[in-house]
């Protein structure tokens, strides 16, 4: 479904990604962990081309998509993204946030988009908040609207960039539940998170990244309980404590 080969990215003098390769099968959930500054967010953004990689190849369904002749907008329509800081459109209601993409990008007519949008909001448990503005919602509710917004584009895969790190502890559960439900429905997902419970429950594989490289890959069991690399051991030790 998603394949990345030898991805390189520099920000000025900073070498953020040093030849990262990975592959995610259809319906698979891949969790990426690693210290801040290890290049996790950059990697996600290179996959949906929010950031243009310096070199390397990104494949979606077997087609290389980081090419001059492919519009990045076309790629982004098919790969949904959920951000750490929600980034809901502040001037639009929850429902309008969800329907903007279908109406303006896919050209769905507003009535159909509205009906679909309400269904998606119901799916994340927010049927009654359709007309609320982002500033009137809790963090957990905002993040669930953001998930619905990404789903509205009917994406082939979803990227989550630390979706619960900005949340108060009381709201983390509801967002993780929504994500777990999504995974059960067979969505292909790449999730950057440090929620070990979620990772063990939902993910088959976990990648540990540090300093722009993938250091170790394994099942949740292996990564959390018997990591092979010293750096993985140190990092896991810190977050499990």
């Amino acid at each position: 479904m998603i394949r990345v080969e030898e991805l390189e990215k520099h920000f000025g003098a900073l070498h953020v990604l040093k030849g990262v390769s990975l592959e995610v099968q259809k319906g698979e959930v891949l969790v990426i962990i690693g210290p801040s500054g290890s290049g996790k967010s950059t990697l996600l953004r290179c996959i949906n081309l929010l950031i243009e990689p310096d070199s390397g190849r990104v494949f979606l369904d077997g087609t290389q998509v980081n090419r001059r002749d492919i519009r990045p907008e076309w790629v982004r329509q098919q790969v949904g993204m959920v951000f750490q800081s929600f980034n809901l459109f502040a001037h639009l209601t929850a429902l309008q946030n969800v329907t903007l993409g279908p109406i303006r990008v896919l050209g769905t007519d507003p009535t159909t988009a509205g009906a679909q949008g309400r269904k998606l909001l119901a799916r994340v448990g927010l049927a009654d908040k359709a007309d609320a503005y982002p500033a009137q919602l809790s963090g957990g509710q905002q993040q669930r609207v953001a998930i619905a917004r990404a789903l509205a584009m009917n994406p082939k895969a979803m990227l989550f960039d630390e979706p619960t790190s900005a949340l108060d502890p009381e709201y983390i559960r509801e967002v993780l539940d929504a994500m777990a439900a999504l995974a059960r429905d067979g969505m292909t997902m790449i999730v950057v998170t440090h929620e070990m419970g979620f990772a063990s429950e939902v993910a088959k594989r976990i990648l540990f990244m540090d300093a722009g490289r993938i250091i170790e890959e394994g099942s949740p069991e292996e990564i959390f309980h018997s990591p092979k690399q010293e750096r993985t051991r140190m990092f896991v030790g810190k977050i499990l404590r």
């Binding site: 390189e8 000025g12 949906n48 929010l50 243009e52 310096d54 070199s55 390397g56 190849r57 090419r67 001059r68 907008e73 076309w74 982004r76 329509q77 949904g80 993204m81 951000f83 800081s85 980034n87 809901l88 459109f89 502040a90 001037h91 903007l100 993409g101 303006r104 990008v105 609320a132 503005y133 982002p134 500033a135 009137q136 953001a146 917004r149 990404a150 509205a152 584009m153």
Partner: protein, 311 residues
Amino acid sequence: MPATFDEQRRSRVRIVDILLAILVTVGILAYILDVLALRWGLSTAYIGRSYPNYLKAAWISLYVTTIAYFIGMGIGFVLGWARSVRTLPLARVMAARRREAVAAADGGSPGAGLFLGTLLVYGIKYYVRRTADAYVAIIRGTPLFVQIVFVWSAVLVFYPRLDPLLQGLLAGVIALTANTGGYQSEIFRAGIQTVHSGQVEASRAIGLSRWGAMRYIVLPQAVRLVIPPLTNEYIGLLKASSLLAVVGSVPELTTFGRSEAFQTFHIFEAFALVVGIYLLITVPVSKVVEWIERRYRIPGLGIQASRTARV
């Protein structure tokens, strides 16, 4: 719900407040009228007779101002957007393109055409930005009075046979448009840059184009932010349109008032009317904009009107 003692007392105090305010206002007005009409001998007859002509002149001021303002808004938005875009240094853009080309050619040598194309696009972008910067520098760095005289003299040179009224109007509209365009570009730049970058990222992530993100996400939020300075600019421009008096051939409010004053020698009456009419326009404009601002306030964001005490 029965009003508490405190609320009753407060509402009584409010009534006293209002009565007091009315009394003071009426008193001041009566005093001014007394000074102007009785002691200075202000001719109310002249005012009553000729105020319609002043209103006609005010229409011309409003007309010129409004046209210049809205054309200037288009210019301001485009320039502001151009100036708000961050650009990468050329060396980095070229280096990225080279890496990409090498990767695509799989070791072969990349074609020169690709680099020329990149260079051309970069050059145009660079040129547009620098032109916009220079434009704003020139507009902000010179007096509007000089700009009007400059454009006017240019019009006189290039269209010497045109009707003087048309010459004046043309010069006035061009100068005011150019001027407000420069100032509005700074207003728009501030607005665009204040909208959180995450908003753009999120809109790009659902597949909106650069223009789509601007049109549906950034502009609606930026415009809300810049309504107060845009209002300022309109009122400022209306007042600045009085500088067209230097052209002389456009009978806008100030020009008309001045010529009336020196032809009829009703000097105080003329300028009292001019001042009064300017206020008659600017005060309601502020009120209307205040209403618009309330109407389009984003619920839950910023200070809530209902919770704000009016001090």
